[in-house]
């Protein structure tokens, strides 16, 4: 029972972290290797707002931090990535370099050790099916479901959302219908960064804000997106359940050190058997040689 409850929670956590990455990839066709850096930045900003720049109330600090991260994402595209769009090698190197600069800059700026923590939204815990779960984790599941639902509604019943989906499906046809490709890319990067930020403020109260988390978040986000099929949202959710349960099982029967090995093995098996991922149908022909 414990495995099932925590497996579900872990899966929702994973899909929250991966959603931003896969969103940016599906719309802007750009692998955002700065994802983990944006995640940590949000956590650090929220901490700064609460502890250094006067004591903002917690909700306000969170909203501000997410807003700033979304703005960073948008500005990053507007001023840097827009100039190298379509040059695959440059895209990868540039986003990776930006991510590294942020992460290592934070590490140099003193983001080390266990001093940086965010408080839980609601303390305490309750029993579900005989398993003790704290409210923060329950809140994560609730927020996760709300995010999925609102993202679905946004992309199906909103002009901007439909434009994003149009670009994701067929860029040229969408551009012919008057959808601005650069504008949607800016929106998608802002959204993706905002989602990374949201995931950060939800998840960071469970642990410390340290730089290493940024790397592992990036890796798990990528793992989930690759297994689900890069750019496929449904696949991302399914894949995060697979990886999430696999992780909880390895933690229960082996040791938590193997979690990342599980992620890598899953990626390699996916690449060997079905390279385009579980749901990555539409781009299959493009990506296989």
């Amino acid at each position: 029972m414990e495995i099932i409850v925590y497996g579900v929670i872990n899966s929702v956590i994973l899909s929250l972290t991966a959603l931003g990455f896969t969103l940016v990839y599906s719309i802007a066709r750009m692998p955002n290797f700065a994802h983990g850096a944006l995640y940590i930045t949000t956590g650090y900003l929220a901490w700064l707002f609460m502890n250094k720049f006067g004591s903002f109330p917690y909700p306000l600090a969170i909203v501000l931090a997410i807003g700033i991260t979304a703005a960073i994402g948008a500005l990053m595209y507007r001023f840097i990535l827009i100039r190298i769009r379509g040059m695959e090698i440059s895209e990868i190197i540039a986003t990776y370099a930006i991510g590294l600069a942020i992460l290592e800059g934070l590490r140099w700026g003193g983001l080390r050790g266990g001093t940086f923590t965010l408080p839980a939204f609601i303390a305490g815990s309750m029993n579900i099916f005989g398993v003790s779960v704290d409210y923060q984790r329950l809140l994560i599941v609730a927020v996760g479901i709300i995010v999925f639902a609102s993202l679905y509604l946004f992309t199906h019943f909103n002009r901007v959302g439909l434009a994003l989906r149009g670009i994701a499906q067929d860029e040229r046809a969408a551009m012919m219908l008057g959808i601005d490709s650069d504008m949607t890319a800016i929106i998608s990067l802002a959204l993706g960064s905002g989602l990374a930020g949201l995931a950060a403020v939800m998840l960071l109260p469970l642990g410390n804000i340290i730089v290493e988390v940024g790397y592992s978040v990036l890796i798990f986000a990528i793992a989930v997106s690759v297994i689900g099929g890069l750019g496929s949202w449904g696949g991302t959710i399914l894949a995060s359940f697979i990886i999430g349960f696999a992780q909880i099982l390895t933690e229960a029967f082996l040791s938590s050190q193997y979690q990342m090995v599980v992620a890598l093995l899953a990626i390699i098996i996916t690449l060997l058997i079905k390279p385009s991922g579980i749901f990555g149908k539409q781009k299959e022909l493009e990506e296989r040689v």
């Binding site: 190298i84 190197i93 990776y96 290592e104």
Partner: protein
């Protein structure tokens, strides 16, 4: 207002020396062989010149190690189209293998370095195999994950000495062997690769980057070509790793550190991608700078990343291409 534009014209000496038979003066000969001779002789003389600065003599070795990694990155990225974000993985594999051969199996140095190079290249190629039949970002993703993962696995399983690493490798016989082994290897790899990319096989490999369907239509396996290219690149990386572990007499998880991944990338971008020589120029600029900035710790990585992003966005041709243009051509303003 009169419209003006810049016109570039080849210098006379370049035109005259374009065909070897036309060379008649010392000046033309110098123009032609000067730059490569400067590089080769300079690299060979450098350890002797720096005799009075022992610290900087050590830096030459490190520069050459990074040059090898940068060559590997440049070859993979700009000739095969595979972006390798984890050059550190090659270094780590080569270094650890060489440590295992030397410390655990008691092979002498002159056996452990070549063995580690070859075995390491084979292992790296096999591990990267799953990502090779695919286009797109998969290779970058997989290479990004391997070094991070290798560190954690070694620390978690506590194999190969765990966090302490393997100590007590034999160092190279003497200082000059240490310098000239890496310098000559760098020169051989540099000019070997420059030759290789224009041979039949090199042309096919470049074809993989530009149009893999055409390569496939010619009845050549794209995956096999990519695997061979990865083997060549990881060969260089593993050699660098094996060498560095013998130089420090130590192999530890810091061989998988970010520096080995990011500095070569920065060198290639700064020096000029796709020229191979640019990788050399870039690392000869960046690595000494990074030695000067040693006190800054991880802030160095921030500096590289900022420089890297700046170059890739605003000056993507790189220093070497710019310099070569100035060397071969002159500019003047003409009316449109």
């Amino acid at each position: 207002m009169e419209m003006m534009r810049k016109e570039r014209i080849d210098r006379g000496v370049r035109v005259r020396t374009a065909g070897l038979y036309a060379i008649s003066t010392w000046r033309e000969m110098l123009y032609l062989v000067g730059p490569p001779l400067f590089l080769i002789l300079g690299m060979i003389i450098l350890p002797i010149i720096l005799e009075f600065a022992p610290y900087w003599k050590r830096v030459i070795n490190i520069v050459c190690v990074y040059t090898l990694l940068a060559l590997a990155f440049d070859f993979l990225a700009n000739f095969v189209g595979l972006v390798c974000l984890g050059g550190a993985f090659f270094v780590g594999v080569g270094g650890y293998l060489s440590a295992i051969f030397n410390v655990y199996l008691h092979f002498p140095v002159y056996l452990s370095i070549p063995l580690a190079t070859i075995c390491g290249a084979v292992i790296s190629t096999l591990l990267l195999m799953p990502a090779l039949p695919l286009r797109g970002v998969y290779f970058a993703i997989v290479t990004l994950m391997y070094p991070l993962l290798a560190t954690r696995v070694i620390e978690a399983l506590n194999i190969f000495g765990g966090t302490n690493g393997i100590i007590g490798l034999d160092s190279l016989p003497n200082e000059y062997v240490e310098h000239y082994l890496i310098i000559i290897a760098t020169l051989i790899f540099l000019y070997g690769l420059r030759r290789f990319v224009n041979q039949d096989m090199g042309l096919v490999i470049r074809g993989v980057k530009d149009n893999d369907q055409a390569v496939r239509a010619s009845g050549i396996s794209v995956t096999r070509m990519k695997a061979f290219a990865v083997f060549v690149a990881s060969f260089m990386g593993c050699f660098a790793g094996a060498y560095i572990s013998h130089m420090y007499s130590w192999a530890g998880t810091s061989l998988f550190a970010l520096d080995f991944s990011i500095i070569p990338i920065a060198s290639v971008v700064i020096g000029g991608g796709g020229t191979l020589l640019g990788a050399v120029v870039g690392s000869f600029i960046l690595v000494p700078v990074s030695e000067l900035l040693r006190n800054f710790g991880t802030f160095r990585i921030v500096i590289y990343c900022v420089i890297l992003t700046g170059f890739i966005v605003f000056k993507s041709e790189g220093i070497l291409v710019y310099a070569m243009r100035k060397y071969h051509q002159f500019e003047r303003w003409v009316k449109v």
